[in-house]
Subunit: 270 residues, 2 copies
Amino acid sequence: MQKFNRNQRIMAITKILMENPNKIINLNKFTGMFNAAKSTISEDIVVVRQTLNRLSMGTIETISGAAGGIKYTCGISDEKIKEFAEELCIILQDKQRIVPGEFMYISDVMYNPQIVYKAAIVLASQFKGSKINYIVTVQTKGIPLAYEVAKILGVNLVIVRRDSKVTEGPTVSINYVSGSNRRIQTMSLSKQAINKGSKCIFIDDFMKAGGTALGIINLLREFESELVGIGVLIDNINTEKKLVDDYVSIVKFSGVDENQSPIVYPGIIK
Amino acid sequence: MQKFNRNQRIMAITKILMENPNKIINLNKFTGMFNAAKSTISEDIVVVRQTLNRLSMGTIETISGAAGGIKYTCGISDEKIKEFAEELCIILQDKQRIVPGEFMYISDVMYNPQIVYKAAIVLASQFKGSKINYIVTVQTKGIPLAYEVAKILGVNLVIVRRDSKVTEGPTVSINYVSGSNRRIQTMSLSKQAINKGSKCIFIDDFMKAGGTALGIINLLREFESELVGIGVLIDNINTEKKLVDDYVSIVKFSGVDENQSPIVYPGIIK
């Protein structure tokens, strides 16, 4: 086999790391793939690590031991977070988005992979360092965002349903009171979806009073598991009282101005 | 600013291309970012392109003209497709997955980002070259897969709902007959979700008789749009008659064996 040169190895190593965020990759994978010595691969990784650092694009951690290797973690600078939140506000400041009940039409945003990916990096960066087992969301609109956060953090996604479906097997259901309109709603989750003693982060598109988040806390208790963080894209701060207090949001929404346009501003400011 | 050397530029260019599949990136982005001449960047891109080709990991296309630049397309070799389908079959061959009605519990698979990502590359590779505007799916279990295919193909996702929700604004609903149990079901989509004259691909987790796919064809007609492809993870071939005939699947499922374990085998064979 013709050898790969440094440029080629760096390209391929970068691609493989990007595709496996927060997963430990043993160096043997690379030595085998490129037919190269471990010391050579280590030098390649130094280049990748330094460039990531220099561009604030992420970090590479070395894990020692038999099950060790390198682990890439997605990163973003505070400046880029601010820039993204501001761009998002411009997209959201459109009066045609307002739907009766101080809701916004945001499906186009939540289903745009390029926006979702950036939003997920921002949210994931708020939780990096926390040891978690799952990202939890409730159907439907927050699913792509929650999936992308799960991918970046290297864990599985859990989707709580509003109905229960034949293909889920035995499920656990709870009733909860929606914080904003006081309606009783149901959420259900397959019994085999979460292992006991898990730590989870709840990701959603929009938070009003936080009734859904509170419901998730109660549902996770049924699985002897714990909610350790909440992240949403948009936080409606025009709400009398929030039912949860510890959460992060990328954009704050505080109703409409005199032109019926949404009032939005960046939520994560450092 | 200290200059970036070739290794560093290749690392960063690779990362940016991976994050923007099927999107045209103007070379000025890179010349500005690295403070480098266009000819230097072009040489970097040659290295990235050659390495991608050599490892069957994708292609880079050059688009000329004022709005031109380079476009990365995800790729996978036939051998890797086969390998992935075989791995997936091993995961699915577990008798505990069988749920009454010849369904399988597959939420753990559909919500595992590493499996979803690989499955999405396989499905996207079947449709590359087709000019499409949206990836369409129906809630809930196929959403992560459909999202990932949309991201890889560089288009937006559209999620058809079984209910209609206040935040969606005006919607279009149709009734359709589920092919396998002959039940009448409803699907609805926000009027502003799809532009007229669009070409779409339907992605889902599981196909039984194809009633849902047929429903999507009819729903898209209401938007004067067209379904040009169907891709599913698992195709239940134990069905008397399929209501649609032109689709691709990664795994074929043909009921259970004498031990009540699922009978599955790779679906895409070249």
